[in-house]
Amino acid sequence: MQILALETSTDAGSCALWQDGQLLSASCPAGRPHSETLIPLVQQMLAEAGSGFACLDAIAFGMGPGAFTGLRVACGIAQGMAVALDRPLLPVGSLETMAWEAGGQRVVSLLDARMGEVYWGLCERHADEGIVLLEEPGLLLPDAVPLPSGEDWQIVGNALQAYPALGSRLAAWDCQPQILPQARSVAELGALALARGEALDPALAAPRYVRNKVARTTAERLADGGRP
């Protein structure tokens, strides 16, 4: 079995190849848009592994939440590849991916959502399911992020640094702000999902934005005394 994984939900883009449990991964060079670096990186990685597009059984991608454009770069490329190769897709959440990177049993993932908000995921590691979200992923103000119940939680993600007050509120726990979504974890979680039979037709795979309110309707603007 071979699974290609793409992850570009933050500036730190990466790709990985999972071959029956063996992992290979590569990071996009910093400072350039993912659109210029991701596919060449994939081609190089496949060539080095002696693999190729035709050898892939499925394609996993980081579905978010994260930067909207980044989510669509990974999803769009993955969809294109999946249709071309007639293979299924494995969407993997960024908050789950961060929890898998952390390695602990119980993890709170906190990803900077910009605009003064945080993507929040309450994650638990299960033997063969990988990471399970205990609640719907949230979009919260830093002040509204709940304190974990109990000491045995790891807290991970760049929101800890982006919002220092949040970082200090959680300082009593094991905090790892440097942990970000990585393609290698997308690949491993994707492999578990594939084994569970959760592969999706590419027409059904989509980004998970979590931030769903992005504009105001004319009626809403008018109700606030705004212009049509």
Binding site: S35, E36, F53, T69, R72, V73, A78, M81, V83, A84
Partner: protein, 340 residues
Amino acid sequence: MRVLGIESSCDETGLAVYDTERGLLAHALHTQIALHAEYGGVVPELASRDHIRRLVPLLRQVMGASGCSLAELDAVAYTQGPGLAGALLVGCAFAEGLAASLGKPILPVHHLEGHLLSPLLAQEPPEFPFVALLVSGGHTQLMAVAGVGKYELLGETLDDAAGEAFDKTAKLLGLGYPGGPALSKLADVGQPGVFDLPRPMLHSGDFNFSFAGLKTAVLTLVRDKSEDRPDFPADVARAFQDALVEVLVKKSIAALKHTGMQRLVVAGGVGANRQLRQALNEAARKRRYRVYYPELEFCTDNGAMIAFAGAMRLMAGAQPRPAGVFAVRPRWPLNELMGA
């Protein structure tokens, strides 16, 4: 040669397959007009979110209808710009992923070149050279077209595009969004000559346009003279359309005279306007020019014109590039294409 075309620069997702020997094999389109209506205009983020949901089903639809397989394509063309950055990027990422894993090359297409060449998809296509009047939601330009890739900009709007003027004026008259087609329908039942609106830049001596003042004149009319008369909106719409059409027609004819060309090609959404077509046809007939229009379905954004422009580029000897490294060009002046 067979080219897949993908368009996602604004609020339409369009895909098509064009074959240089057999013509247009299939095309499929999804328009987001209903999605944006309650926002009073295109919301870029929502446009991007919709494009990514539509691409796979539309690709399957168009490939099925074309009767050929992805393996039988020679290249993948997509709109690289100009347009909404996020929306462009969706079509772009999808096309690049598709082409990279199929081992097919890429042809990035300029959206306006797509519009410009779209009349060549018609039953009786014009021959080169011709003057092109491009009138869409985002552009109003007159161009001298000597051949594929040989475009000379004669003039363009200095502010609002013609379609934009239609849409903004429609909004002033409470016709919803995008109001261009509704305004045009209303104008058809209006009385000509009830109101006299300015013809901006009619005698400017060049081929440039300006429509912002026309919209302001309508605003003043609606504010100051608003009459309860049921025909009032129709008469205003008629006055607006008369003014805009007169400027477009006079400048187009002047461009034909100036270039010595015999054919006028009209492209872009406003090219669907009935009164504009009538007036252009009449003005051209008197002077023995011929006017060409795209099929109505190819006036607004679509995938067919992108597949076609890509195919024309291939035929003209353009080298497609390998898939993989891509960037969108939200702002991309057409004149940067000259000599390409």
